[in-house]
Subunit: 409 residues, 2 copies
């Protein structure tokens, strides 16, 4: 498996485009409307927010993916979430699909849409339709267009997030490309942001859905920035079979290779989201080792990564590891504290902080040095079984508060 | 029912005292060791943290309360939590009890202890024993001593928290007094801080336990500052029967009066904790109205009060009410968003923000005015039933991050 250039345009047959239509009125330099378009019909799978309050595009996409076997395009806007907008929200999704249908000849049920931004306001559909007319004729397969699209879907993100890999499956090159956005309102229940993945693999809808669902559990669902689960969380994958590999219809060797490549794309995008958490200065990786079950390992890792007190302590490079024990303790999982060891690790070194549940005396200067890094791992060895899990998050900073105290202006 | 002066010393028979022994070395002006002492044996009930990692004093107190029918005193220190301290932690509780026993003649199993502060370090027991010898002969029933004790148990609290009320029960004056501390590491699963309540009521252990357990559900357990559930959370009530009322042994009229008075003490202390949340500038009260069940009402109210994004928006006086809908949506409760109305309310006015699930156009200046208050209510009318719940919290500020980025120094 190799990393390649090109983001969502890296696989055969996929084009991208974007433009500025004025949804984020304050920022004319940054596009706010993006499109992914495929020359051929795609098999498609999606996972969506578990929030009871679902944005209109989430409902629209769920229906299209469930009822249609071909998907050809996704229209994505940033700035307004099209959530808590009632019937009008759904009508706006239909109008966007109709608009792209009119210029492209696609059927409306081949078109997905996605939105991210402020909850409440209504989408300026007329502007979006003008934007679609502008983007469509200029779509192409360049890495530049893919990158522009990744920029256009950003909200408080500080940089675009793209990953693409190439993998050989039974003699054919199969490519998977992905882009995502997300840095606030991110938590661990499902999808957790917008992510769009393209591939030229030939794979059945059933296997594609299975691969996506399982990969999401260990990647996007293991990221927490602030404990808030958005109304718009969406992960969509489109597969257009242009790689000409033997169609994947069972969990065979080819499936495993595809799965592994998809895991790489999603885990790197997920880490990128955590690292770009609102106001973040440090990527925190929590590794829970030797838990009694996979589910327990995931819950423990998520609990530590979600603890505001732990996150604030990492920001301060304060080796206050009692907060880690505390967060393990309220994870909703039973364990024997007297078996637990805890370590900090970074490129600057490794230090044992807790042995058999007791906080050790430690060298403050060395602990500070270990924590003084832009990537810090918290390792919790439960000594209770054989299952591991990794979760990603970031430190809690003044900047997070600043961003969210006045997000709309 | 009247509010009276005196805190934990307001009921007959209770004395308090405090001193500085150097656990919080940096602050010689603030006492760090406190004691509550009763002239007569007390019936006692307690609720404690649900965290799997329980501090030594939590385990000590649980055992004393379960096994003993008389309790006479509580020794409380701030600065060090005596948590994650292994066997040595329990030994230190025993030594503290032994020390007070030596100077007072109480049995060791009549003595409770409680700690709050940094998780990990070992208690300086020799200093604490010296402190006990100093406090014991100076104990008295003055409001000043009660207040000093309330100050001594503070950590990042900015002011002491005391409430006391007098209620007439079948012709006798019964008094309930309480003090508590807590402003960080506070969340909604059980107890959530240290709280000590004294009363001269005559009440059976069974009824006292029942009253405390139920009151805690609607008071301390409805407070959230930062989502972290501490290892040391403790609520203890001691009843010495000196009011000479007819002993309460069933859920009769007298029980109801006692319950109501206990609710007032605990809800005012709980609100006080929320208001004094680390770095807080605004008390947020979430009122969920007309939910389908009490349990759902509580979960919805807690979810909104715990949302970092909602808390940061209130700090910024930003009427970003989509975040409230979002937090309702991930509460883990099913409801019909199309029935939900949301309002902001404060002493400056009231504004409807969401009607039947749709965010309304609103007057930004007026919304700002409503939010520009040190107490703001978020009212969520679910229109789904008849059950209400209230939760308390505070805004998320730069100061919260500052306090927790470097708590130990």
């Amino acid at each position: 498996m190799n990393h390649v250039e090109g983001g969502v345009c890296a696989p055969l047959g996929f084009k991208a485009g974007s433009t500025w239509v004025g949804i984020k009125a304050s920022n004319k330099e940054k596009d706010d409307l993006a499109m992914i378009f495929c020359e051929e019909p795609c098999v498609c799978a999606g996972t969506f927010t578990t929030n009871v309050v679902k944005a209109a595009p989430v409902k629209w996409d769920r229906k299209v993916i469930d009822e249609s076997d071909d998907v050809r395009a996704i229209v994505i806007n940033s700035g307004i979430a099209n959530a808590a907008t009632g019937e009008r929200g759904m009508k706006n999704c239909a109008e966007i699909a109709k608009g792209l249908s009119a210029v492209s000849g696609l059927r409306e049920d081949e078109i997905l849409c996605a939105s991210t931004g402020v909850i409440g306001p209504t989408l300026p559909v007329a502007k979006i339709l003008e934007g679609i007319e502008k983007i469509y004729p200029a779509l192409d397969r360049s890495a530049e267009k893919a990158n522009n699209a990744a920029v256009a879907i950003m909200t408080t993100d500080t940089h675009p997030k793209e990953v693409s890999v190439k993998v050989n499956i039974s003699g054919k090159d199969v490519t998977i490309g992905g882009m995502c956005k997300g840095s606030g309102m991110i938590h661990i229940n499902m999808s957790t942001m917008l992510s769009f993945i393209t591939t030229d693999a030939d794979i059945s809808k059933e296997m594609l859905t299975k691969a996506l669902t399982n990969v999401v559990k260990d990647t996007y669902n293991m990221v927490s920035v602030d404990g808030d689960t958005s109304t718009n969380d969406t992960v969509i994958i489109m597969a257009n079979k242009m790689a000409n590999n033997e169609k994947i219809t069972t969990e065979n060797e080819d499936y495993n290779k595809f799965y592994e490549a998809l895991y790489v794309v999603c885990s790197e995008l997920a880490k990128n989201i955590a690292k770009d958490g609102e106001g973040a200065t440090t990527l925190i990786e929590t590794r829970v080792l030797n838990a009694a079950s996979k589910d327990m390992a995931r819950k423990l890792a998520k609990s530590v990564i979600s603890s505001s007190l732990t996150k604030a302590a990492i920001f301060g490079k304060d080796a206050n590891c009692g907060r880690i024990l505390c967060a393990l303790g309220y994870a909703g999982v039973d364990f024997d504290i007297e078996k637990v060891n805890v370590y900090y690790e970074s490129k600057n070194g490794r230090i044992m902080m807790v042995e058999k549940g007791v906080v050790l005396e430690f060298d403050e200067d060395y602990a500070y040095k270990v924590l003084d890094s832009d990537e810090v791992a918290i390792i919790c060895d439960m000594n209770a079984g054989k299952e591991d899990a990794i979760a990603w998050g970031c430190d809690l900073t003044y900047e997070y508060v600043k961003i969210n105290a006045d997000y709309r202006s």
